[in-house]
Symmetry: C2
Subunit: 205 residues, 2 copies
């Protein structure tokens, strides 16, 4: 099915052109015209793949999460909760150039989603998926390392939100101040945080 493959590839190519325009010129320049030009296509050809700008933006946002998901599936998980949690969380942080670009694009989309109804369902879905991922990390860590009385669902949800907020906050600070919040800082903060969760039995006494 070479035609379908081509169709998919062209959509990805256009999404990547969208990322480049957003990174270089900002979201307000991400018009269909500018993106088509960046991709070396006519506006008419672009319309063949995406009938509206919102549709193109939604796919471009989704492509970030597809890429991240693909990388996570390929991680060499060990079965040891702390090591696995660190590996997974690092994959969600802008620890190198590729991930930093994704994060900057992601931040631009998140800001835009606040005023663009087309992007909201996607944003909500990804928030929910991320939250579930955080809850499963917390459950793994709690079941192996937290010797306190069984945590309630509410306590787990609180820890999951704390972890997820920390992760997004670090990612944003790193994009804002890459020299200050570099990959070493992010990794140290995450390692320290995971350690403190594993001992949170003592914090709740």
């Amino acid at each position: 099915m070479p035609k379908i493959v081509d169709h998919h590839k062209q959509r990805e190519k256009l999404a990547e052109a969208t990322w480049r325009v957003i990174l270089r010129d900002g979201m307000e320049r991400a018009s269909v015209r500018n993106i088509a030009e960046e991709a070396g296509l006519s506006v008419g050809s672009l319309r063949h793949y995406f009938s509206t700008q919102s549709e193109l933006l939604a796919f471009s946002m989704e492509l970030v999460s597809i890429r991240v998901e693909k990388r996570i599936k390929g991680l060499p998980f060990t079965g040891e909760p702390i090591a696995d949690a660190q590996m997974l969380l690092w994959e969600l942080l802008p620890i190198d150039e590729e991930r930093s670009a994704e994060m900057a694009v992601w931040l631009a989309f998140t800001a835009k989603a606040l005023s663009d109804p087309m992007l909201q369902p996607l944003k909500d879905r990804i928030y929910a998926e991320m939250k579930l991922g955080m809850i499963s990390i917390i459950e793994e860590l709690f079941s192996r390392y937290n010797t306190a009385a069984a945590a309630t669902e509410a306590e787990k949800a609180l820890e999951a939100e704390r972890l997820y907020a920390l992760l997004d906050g670090l990612a944003i600070h790193s994009v804002m101040k890459p020299s200050e919040v570099n990959s070493d800082v992010m990794k140290s903060v995450i390692a320290h945080h995971i350690k403190s969760i594993c001992r949170s039995d003592r914090a709740s006494d």
Copy 2:
């Protein structure tokens, strides 16, 4: 000096109109023309107060931090580090409608600052000021409640970044998912986090 007062008031009025446009229509609609219309002024009159769009946006971003700073100065601090830290941190979170609007505007500006050189110095200055604020909270908490051997500067900086990232992450999640990350959730996460910092002597053994 009624003229100077008027000048200042008009600038604030235009900044507030900018916020409304950003909140309602997104940053990409925050053109000089749209903002002037929202404020009920002609483009020519607006140019009297701000000669460029970037200048208007920079002032609008700065006004968020001026408002927050003013509120913080009016807080009834008690001298008790945990209570004072909570009071201060809550002031930086979108716990009500006014603060949620500020945060949404702030997020839009932060995303824009990534591609607008005019906004970068301001963004850098505010990041640095916030970081200093976090370090002083951590120092207060450590000096009163953390019985571990004296923390190094590096450890304090790590805790300050962790606290600041958590704060910004919570704020962003609250703007993204106000029903899920409401003011009770944010307050609980912050309270839990401060408690765990105060016992971090045990986490580092």
